[in-house]
Each structure stands twice: as structure tokens, then as C-alpha cells.
């Protein structure tokens, strides 16, 4: 942990903190001989405490002027869970209900159902790192891999905004893979793909994806929000129908994922309840200890410095209120008479 100063020149004022050793904040009471006062440990303690606090008040104020801060740094943290890269389909069809209609009345679109369950999911997993990527025609980096809950939650809140365009799953996957920090140990890594349909992955991109998957080795979960009546993952081609990616994109995407040689599971959800079950299943599967590095931003310590100064000063103020003098008591002795006279 290292510290720095915004304006180190102010530290030239720091010798002022020695002033309390020479001067007292209290008014002096002249006396014939200080040896008349008996030695008293408590008084000595109070005297040194006041000196120390006065030095502290001046020193901390000076430091506050100098503007101290703690440097940003990277710390290693341990969490139970995984690095989860969420890849969300933002194509226009996500704004439809599971029945394939535009939501009306109390109906819930696939996107908002996904949003609701994903938010729960993020809340449940306290130590995971999440990265959020959206894709339609081209992928959008929504939130880089982070463990800041609020940011992740806000990113997920945004996924039920009206979607647009088509489903370009290949480039989406590439970006989701790029969320994982390069190098280092193989940690527990998860790609959670949420989509309501599949598309053909360009064969040229397929090779690239294969290489990336082999390098990063994430577990892949495909949450397929299946519109009722649409083709499913495990649907075999009808007789007479061609078994091509163009005709059955879901089936072929599934086959492609299976051929990657990584941990892969597909969940077919045909309604909100099924989505919840799928998410609970993923939650259960992905619980392994892992280590990650987090960057702590630079932190301004001026407030702390000022709080210390304020505390020291307030004690000095109390001492100032407790101040009395030898001579004043002689006058105070006379004041009750005045009071009596006034009464």
C-alpha cells in the first residue's frame, strides 16, 4: 500500500506542529513558584495529552492541505464462484413474450423475464465476477469483468430495452470470450449465453472460436428462451428437410458447442418458471473457490485527515472550556455578593 500527496509543498508547514511544545493553548496564570503545586501524575498526563493533541491538530490540518491519497492498487481476492461472462441476445425478438407476441397487459417479454432472473442470480452470487456483453448484429461490451454488484445490476437492468437487428452469435461469443482476462491460471470460468434463437456461425469465425474456447476453457451454459412453436435444440430435421445450419440453426449451434470439448449444458426454457429453474441449476453447478485480482482506485484521504484534526481540536476546545485561572477565582468569590445585591 503506498501513499502520495497532491501538493507536497504544503508539508513545509509541518514544523508548525512542534509549536505546542513551546506554547500552551491555555492562558498563563503567573505564580510565585510552580513548586508550590504538588507533583501530580494526572496533571502531567493531561499536559502531555494536550500537547500531543495540539500537535496532532496542526499536523493533520497541514496534511489535509497537502491532500493525501492512497494510490490505486491491485489486490488479490478469493471468492467462491466463478468468473461469469453473461452474453445476452438483444435481437428484436427478445422483446416478445414466450408466446411470440408483443407483450400486452400483464404479459412479460423474454427480455424482462431474463432480466428479473438474472438480477436474482447476480444478487445470490456475492463473490462472482460478472462481465456483461450484449449482441445483436454486432456485439456490445456492456460491462467489463468486475465484482461491483451495482454496476453489474445496472448492466442487466438495461437488457430489456427494445432490441434491434439480428442475431450474430459468433461475434457475440468472441467478445464474451474476450471478457476473461488473458493468461494466468485457469480459473472457474463460465459463459452464460441467453438467447431466444440461434444463427449460423460463419465457418471462418468457427475456427477462431474453437481456438479461443480451447485456450480459455470456460463452462458454457446456453439458456435458450424458446418461443413456443419454434424449433428446439434437440429437434431432428423433418423428413425431406435439409439438415443444414440455415434450416436448423439451434440444432447445429448445439452440435457446434458439443464439439468444442468443454463443459457445456443447454437449458431450454419455454416460460419464466423454466428460466428460474435453469438459473438455479447453473447457480448450483458453479460453486468453486477461485482467486481474482481487483483494482482498487486511488482514494482521497483528506477527509480522514480533517476528521483527525477536528477530533483533536474538539478535545482542545473542551480543555479550553475547562480552563481556569488563579486570579479569576478571587473575582468569582466576589460575584455571589453582587448576585445577592442584585436580588
Amino acid at each position: 500500500m503506498s501513499f502520495g500527496l497532491a501538493s507536497p509543498l504544503a508539508l513545509f508547514l509541518l514544523p508548525l506542529a512542534l509549536a505546542p511544545l513551546l506554547f500552551s493553548p491555555l492562558r498563563l496564570s503567573p505564580i510565585s513558584s510552580v513548586s508550590a503545586a504538588p507533583q501530580d501524575a494526572l496533571s502531567t498526563l493531561v499536559a502531555w495529552a494536550l500537547r500531543l493533541l495540539a500537535s496532532l491538530a496542526i499536523g493533520a490540518s497541514t496534511l489535509a492541505v497537502a491532500g493525501p491519497f492512497r494510490e490505486g492498487r491491485a489486490i488479490q481476492r478469493y471468492g467462491e464462484g466463478a468468473e461469469i461472462s453473461i452474453l445476452i441476445d438483444r435481437s428484436a425478438s427478445m422483446n416478445e413474450t414466450f408466446a411470440g407476441r408483443t407483450p400486452a397487459g400483464g404479459e412479460e417479454s423474454k427480455a424482462s423475464a431474463a432480466k428479473r432472473f438474472m438480477t436474482d442470480f447476480v444478487d445470490r452470487r456475492a463473490h462472482d465476477l460478472f462481465g456483461v456483453t450484449a449482441f445483436s448484429t454486432s456485439p456490445i461490451m456492456v460491462m467489463p469483468m468486475t465484482n461491483h454488484r451495482a454496476a453489474v445490476r445496472a448492466a442487466i437492468q438495461a437488457i430489456d430495452r427494445p432490441g434491434l437487428g439480428y442475431t450474430n452469435i459468433g461475434r457475440g461469443l468472441a467478445m464474451a470470450l474476450s471478457q476473461f482476462p488473458a493468461g494466468g491460471e485457469i480459473e472457474s470460468r463460465v459463459i452464460l449465453l441467453v438467447s431466444d434463437g440461434a444463427a449460423v456461425i460463419d465457418p471462418r469465425i468457427q475456427d477462431q472460436l474453437r481456438a479461443d474456447f480451447r485456450k480459455i476453457r470456460p463452462n458454457l451454459y446456453w439458456l435458450f428462451l424458446r418461443t413456443s412453436g419454434a424449433k428446439g435444440i434437440s429437434d431432428q430435421p423433418d423428413a425431406g428437410e435439409l439438415d443444414t445450419p440455415q434450416a436448423l440453426p439451434e440444432r447445429h449451434l448445439d452440435l457446434f458447442f458439443k464439439s468444442l470439448g468443454i463443459g457445456y449444458r443447454a437449458f431450454e426454457a419455454e416460460g419464466p418458471a423454466a428460466v428460474a429453474d435453469a438459473i438455479a441449476e447453473i447457480d448450483r453447478l458453479e460453486r468453486r473457490p477461485f482467486r481474482y485480482v481487483e483494482r482498487i482506485p486511488r482514494k482521497d484521504l483528506t477527509d480522514h485527515s480533517l476528521i483527525v484534526a477536528a477530533f483533536a481540536t474538539s478535545v482542545l476546545v473542551v480543555a479550553k472550556f475547562a480552563e481556569t485561572r488563579l486570579k479569576q477565582t478571587a473575582r468569582a468569590g466576589a460575584s455571589p455578593q453582587f448576585a445577592k445585591r442584585a436580588a
Binding site: I31, S32, V34, A319, A322, R325, L326, A330
Partner: protein
Amino acid sequence: MQRFDLAYRPRGRVSNGSVGAHGGVDVGGIGVFRDHARFIQFPDARRIDIRATMRDPTGETHVRRFEQRNAIDVYALVDLSASMGFHGAARRLDIVADLCAALAFSATRIGDRFGVIACDESLRNDLLLPATRARGAAVAAAERLRDAAPRGASAKALTEAAGLIAGRRKLVLLISDFHWPRDFATRLFGLLAQHDLAPILIADSTEERDLPHFGLVELDDLESGARRLVFMRPSLRGRWLAREAERRDALRRLALAHGRPPFVMSDSFDADALSRHLLGL
């Protein structure tokens, strides 16, 4: 300006060449009858006691002898170290000046000589007055003390002053707050032992009775400049007063060993009380 009259009586018999108001060891022709002496011893034909001579079967001639009343020199030895500049319930130097002026006035009135020697770390020659019967000069010297600037961390020149007034027995009023080291006080009292020494302790109620019961007090020593923070509270105040009483007691024991007990003058000059003390009443 009001002048207080101080009465005083030296302890013991005064032996001094000059005629004055106090009972002395000298014999003379007038005054209180003392004893008879043989004419051969005291050949004063005017004082031959016829009756005593006639009564004597051996035919010796007897002379009456009378007590000669003598004058005494009164000296005020004033401690002018910085602590005498203390200004509490009263200015310490005001009390000193009042006392000395009353003493100068009273002493010169009955034919005694009055002198002032003020000392800090050195003799204060500007304030020095050798014993004089001149009332104006004596009172003026006493009044000069009122505006004197006390200075110095000690009153060690008082030992020099003791040398200045050595000689015939004198009445010496040693005026100070007696914030002295014990051995210095013992030495000074020893040097002044031949005189009739009357220590006058100038005290102040703000340093004793009127100490605060509670609060923080930053004490500033007038002499050494040392500072000390004291957290006043009833228990500490009690200890402080006990310590002060102990200091007074030590002074009292020392002074009694040399004659008179100290007289404590607190906050104001009380001429009557001092008179009673000096008369030994």
C-alpha cells in the same frame, strides 16, 4: 495619605550608644530605677541615695542607677526576586511599600533609625537606604519600593545584605514570600542570628485559600519561567493546601529557632495585627 503607626518592641535589651525609646542594657542617670551601686563603682554624686547610705552598717556610699533607654536601628530586608511581582488579590509590592512606609514613619518618630535593603540576585543599590533618622528620606525610600521592578530568579544577595548590617543588634524585618530553598533560608537565618529577626511572610489568598476547585490551570513561574499544567480538582487542591501549610510550618520552626515566629501578611497590610505581633502580645 493615611499613615499607619506601627508599634514594636525589640526582644531583649538593646545595647546602643544613642538614647531612644527601648529598654536597654545601659545604665544612666534618668529613667526607671534599676539598682544600687557603690559610689566607687558609679561615681555620680548627683544620684547618691542618702537613705541607702545611712542604712548601710559598713558606711559604704550608695548611688542609684537608672535604666538607660536606647534607640535601635530598624532595617527592612526586602526580597525583590521576580516572585514578589505577583499580583493576586493584591499587588505584593504594594503591601511591602505600605509596610515599609509605616515602619519608616513610626521608627523615625520615636528616634530609631530606619533603613531599607532590597535584594534580588544582586543588591539593588537604587533602592538602598542606609539607616537614617531623616523621616522624609526614610518614607521616600519605602515608597520607592512600590514601583520597583522585581527581577531575578532568587534573592541570594540577601546574604550580602546580612553582611551590610552586621554589627550592633538591630531589629530586622525580613520581608519575602519565602519561596526559598530550605538550605538558603537556614543559612540566611544563621547570618542574621545576632539581630532581632522578624520574618514577614507576604502571602496571597489566590495562591492558597482561593485556589480553584476544578479546571485546568497553566502555571507560569515568575522566577524560573517554568510552566506546568495543573488539572485542579478537590483532591489535588487538598494536597496543595497541605503542602503550603507544611511549608509555612517549616518556616515557623526555623524562625522560632532564631527568635520570633513569622508573621503572615495576606492580601492587605494590617498595621494593628503587625503591631501586636511585633510587641509580642
